[in-house]
């Protein structure tokens, strides 16, 4: 499996779309908006709040992008069948996809944090840094599971727009680009059940020194389990031998 994870990670790191949308875009967007909002490095300051929401956006985009289209594509292109005639099992394939997707979430989180530190002088206690990175990382499981589900159910040309809409929808409804508090109340109600909303909220709570709110952790965990089950079922269906 380490060899499989390695090539899966390599192929994404060499993919221009991944590098632009997932690695460069969140950092650029962070630097741009932080200037618009005028910085501020205390816990509630724009530099810190935006650092969390842009890391969250980067992680969300990374987990969707590294799963949906590559997975849909390799089912259609025959690469999956090539793997199915090796000793690799279907279970190893899906676990590898999930693990790789979570690995590929890290560059976006780390780069946005690095930009915040280097360009804005943001500084947190070591415990908060560790908590933030860990939570942003592990909290991306529901998105990777969602990505694998979509990639299992749709052919690549349909999967591509669905991945985009899904990513943007989760970003907007999660308040990653625009505070949820400013939304109309109906939309706000929807936002409050979204995994992306609770995901960023965990990050914001940690940087503000409040730790992880249990309700957030529970909601994200529930989404992770639910989407994980759906992803496994969809993956089974996609790899079933007729």
């Amino acid at each position: 499996m380490p060899g499989y994870i390695k090539i899966e990670a390599l192929r994404m790191l060499r993919n221009k779309r991944y590098v632009i949308f997932v690695v460069a875009f969140p950092v650029a967007f962070y630097l741009l908006s932080v200037n618009l909002y005028g910085g501020g490095t205390d816990a509630a300051g724009a530099s810190v709040v935006l650092m969390v929401s842009m890391s969250a956006y980067g992680a969300l985009a990374a987990s969707m992008m590294s799963t949906v289209v590559p997975w849909a594509q390799e089912r259609q292109s025959g690469w999956l069948r090539q793997l199915q005639v090796t000793p690799l099992t279907n279970r190893t394939i899906i676990v590898t996809k999930l693990v790789t997707s979570l690995l590929l979430v890290l560059p976006s989180i780390l780069l946005v944090c690095a930009a915040a530190v280097l360009a804005q002088g943001v500084w947190l206690t070591p415990a908060r840094w560790a908590g933030l990175i860990l939570v942003m990382w592990a909290g991306a499981v529901p998105f990777a599971a969602l990505g694998l589900t979509v990639g299992s159910l749709l052919p690549p040309d349909a999967a591509q727009p669905v991945a985009m809409i899904g990513t943007f929808g989760l970003a907007i409804l999660g308040g990653l680009w625009y505070p949820v508090d400013l939304m109309p109340s109906a939309l706000k109600a929807v936002a409050h059940v979204m995994p992306s909303f609770h995901y960023t909220d965990m990050g914001q709570s940690i940087v503000a020194g409040h730790g992880v709110p249990p309700s957030d952790a529970l909601t994200v965990g529930a989404w992770a389990v639910a989407l994980g089950v759906v992803a496994v079922a969809a993956h089974r269906r996609a790899t079933v031998r007729g």
């Binding site: 060899g3 390695k6 199915q84 000793p87 031998r241």
Partner: protein, 294 residues
């Protein structure tokens, strides 16, 4: 032991019967061609052999076990009819990744040599020509040193030169006592690269044997010579002969075994044989005859 055994295997897709009661046993160590026109059921049979498809009916054994188990043990390698590589990865990365999935793989250099890829190791798969990509897919199929190698129309998209080198690589691989099954609709490929040809049409085996036997079996070859005024009696009793015709002083014998017929003609009769000619039904004719029947 048989490397492959199909017992009364059928597969239907909805109401299309793609494979219809196929029986086929392949001894370990042989190189067998599955020859048939498009739509004959070659790919369906191969995909069932690889565990990618389930038969609707019948049983398939691979190396004494089920297809899934043989694949899981790393005893099978395959090149499917179509399939793309991961464009961002290099030839070396792809081949090395796949070989490491197997318990006792070939060495990387050995694989690259057999698949004629030594000059392309650093090339990304997305930048390969069609023929080069086929060679990489061949490399992936042999990477794990499988006992059974299965190739579904492997030379599609290759030019003449690549084809020759491809078959040389396949023979080098088969020479290690391994079993190879390849599908093709090219008669010459079947003839030149296998020691047994199984002709399939409409999901059934319609002929099975060496290329020579198949030519003969399809009503075969003719032995012709000038008889002049000599008596034609007894010619129909010569070994292999299925029909005799005499016309304008020329005898035409249809035979399933021209070697035996000619030998007996010289040794077993007192005829003066002149202008002897043997014309082969080409494998092509045999193939057309077999696959268009009924």
């Amino acid at each position: 032991m048989n490397a492959i055994a199909f017992t009364d295997v059928s597969k239907s897709y909805g109401n299309v019967l793609a494979v219809d009661g196929l029986d086929l046993a392949v001894e370990a160590g042989r190189t067998v061609a599955l020859l048939g026109p498009n739509g004959a059921g070659k790919s369906t049979s191969i995909n069932m052999l690889l565990g990618l498809l389930r038969p609707t009916h019948g049983r398939i054994e691979v190396l004494g076990t089920s297809p899934d188990e043989a694949v899981a043990r790393g005893e099978v390698g395959a090149m499917m009819q179509s399939g793309e590589l991961i464009p961002e990865l290099t030839v070396r990365e792809l081949v090395d990744f796949v070989r490491r999935l197997y318990p006792r793989p070939l060495g990387l250099d050995e694989i690259l040599q057999m698949a004629d890829l030594t000059g392309l190791v650093k090339r990304r798969a997305g930048k390969l020509s069609g023929g080069q990509a086929q060679r990489v897919r061949f490399a992936l199929s042999i990477a794990g040193a499988p006992k059974l190698l299965v190739l579904d129309e492997p030379t599609a998209a290759m030019d003449v030169e690549s084809r020759l080198r491809f078959w040389a690589g396949m023979r080098a691989y088969a020479a290690g006592g391994r079993t190879v099954l390849f599908a093709t609709h090219y008669l010459e490929e079947a003839d030149e690269n296998s020691d047994r040809v199984v002709v399939v049409a409409r999901g059934r085996v319609v002929a099975d044997g060496t290329a020579a036997q198949i030519k003969a079996g399809a009503g075969g070859q003719t032995v012709r010579f000038t008889l002049d005024g000599q008596a034609a009696a007894g010619l129909d009793a010569l070994p292999g002969v299925t029909a005799v015709e005499v016309e304008e002083g020329t005898a035409t014998l249809r035979t399933a075994d021209p070697d035996a017929t000619v030998a007996a003609l010289y040794r077993g009769t007192s005829l003066r044989v002149r202008d002897l000619r043997i014309t082969g039904a080409a494998l092509e004719d045999a193939f057309l005859a077999l696959t268009q029947e009924s």
